[in-house]
């Protein structure tokens, strides 16, 4: 088993981060073209805790090299099952993801947590990401090690791109939100705009 772990901070409030998180893989993110679809498959609120639980299915375009595909089987897309838990009272988002393609030969389990940063809880958000990668296929240890090593490296590259892309989404969300507020303000102040109903 190999472990990938990182933590960092976003210069945005927890509310902004947790909202933008839902559009992380949208058109504002130019860094993660390998994510081609994100579908919500269930969503519920726990009546006792108020926790919002969401299940999503994430479709990725496969770009593994030939030697990996020859071992794992050659499919052009891979699927990830993600459950997330948003606790609004404790301001905590936890996201758990696992691969469902190739799950008989490779297990990738990731947990991400977003919480207000202790240094500036109203302005910054702390992000912790941890993934466990285990090759399950039978056969030589050497092959297992190579698969785990390849996967952890690819995971690391995608995590870096994911963070860069998420920064773009956060910036864009803040801009659009500010524009909407400004528009609303202008609309309330201007008679002409009110009549034009922009």
């Amino acid at each position: 088993m190999k472990i990938f772990q990182q933590s960092s901070e976003f210069d945005y409030s927890w509310e902004e981060v947790s909202t933008s998180n839902w559009r992380k893989y949208g058109p504002w993110n130019e860094k993660t073209p390998h994510v081609i679809a994100v579908d919500t498959i269930s969503r519920t609120i726990d009546p006792h805790t108020g926790i919002l639980r969401t299940e999503r299915l994430i479709t990725c375009k496969q770009s593994a090299p030939k030697w990996v595909l020859s071992i794992l089987g050659g499919q052009d897309t891979s699927l990830v099952y993600e459950t997330s838990y948003v606790d609004p009272a404790h301001k905590k988002v936890t996201m758990c993801a696992m691969n469902i393609t190739w799950s008989d030969v490779l297990s990738v389990r990731e947990t991400c947590v977003y919480q207000p940063s202790s240094s500036a809880p109203d302005a910054k958000t702390n992000f912790v990401q941890r993934a466990e990668i285990t090759a399950l296929c039978g056969g030589w240890q050497k092959i297992k090690n190579s698969i785990e090593q390849f996967t952890v490296e690819r995971f690391q590259q995608n995590a870096a791109k994911g963070k860069e892309g998420f920064e773009m989404v956060l910036e864009m969300s803040r801009k659009v939100f500010a524009e909407q507020r400004e528009m609303l303000r202008l609309q309330q102040e201007s008679k002409i705009l009110q009549e034009a109903r922009i």
Partner: protein, 81 residues
């Protein structure tokens, strides 16, 4: 917003995603959500998507994944002191 894995569901998915995001930021995070206002849109989206998941055999993979995820549910749905 992102696309759906089933292109025929894209339109209803986008409507639902927009509805959800508005509800999430304006009500859920502020603690004023009394119900899920986007439920009817979600049902339409779900109906479209479930056909595609079934046709591609993804529904059975999802059932297995849900089983594997029980520990996470138990840990993260637990009430905090």
């Amino acid at each position: 917003m992102s696309a759906s894995l089933a292109p025929e569901c894209n339109q209803v998915k986008e409507q639902y995603d927009n509805c959800f995001l508005k509800w999430y930021s304006e009500k859920f995070l502020r603690g004023t959500a009394t119900s899920d206002e986007c439920e009817s849109l979600f049902k339409q989206y779900e109906q479209c998507l479930s056909k595609a998941l079934k046709a591609r055999g993804i529904d059975s993979m999802l059932r297995e994944a849900r089983e594997d995820n029980r520990e996470n549910d138990a840990e993260h749905m637990r009430p905090k002191p």
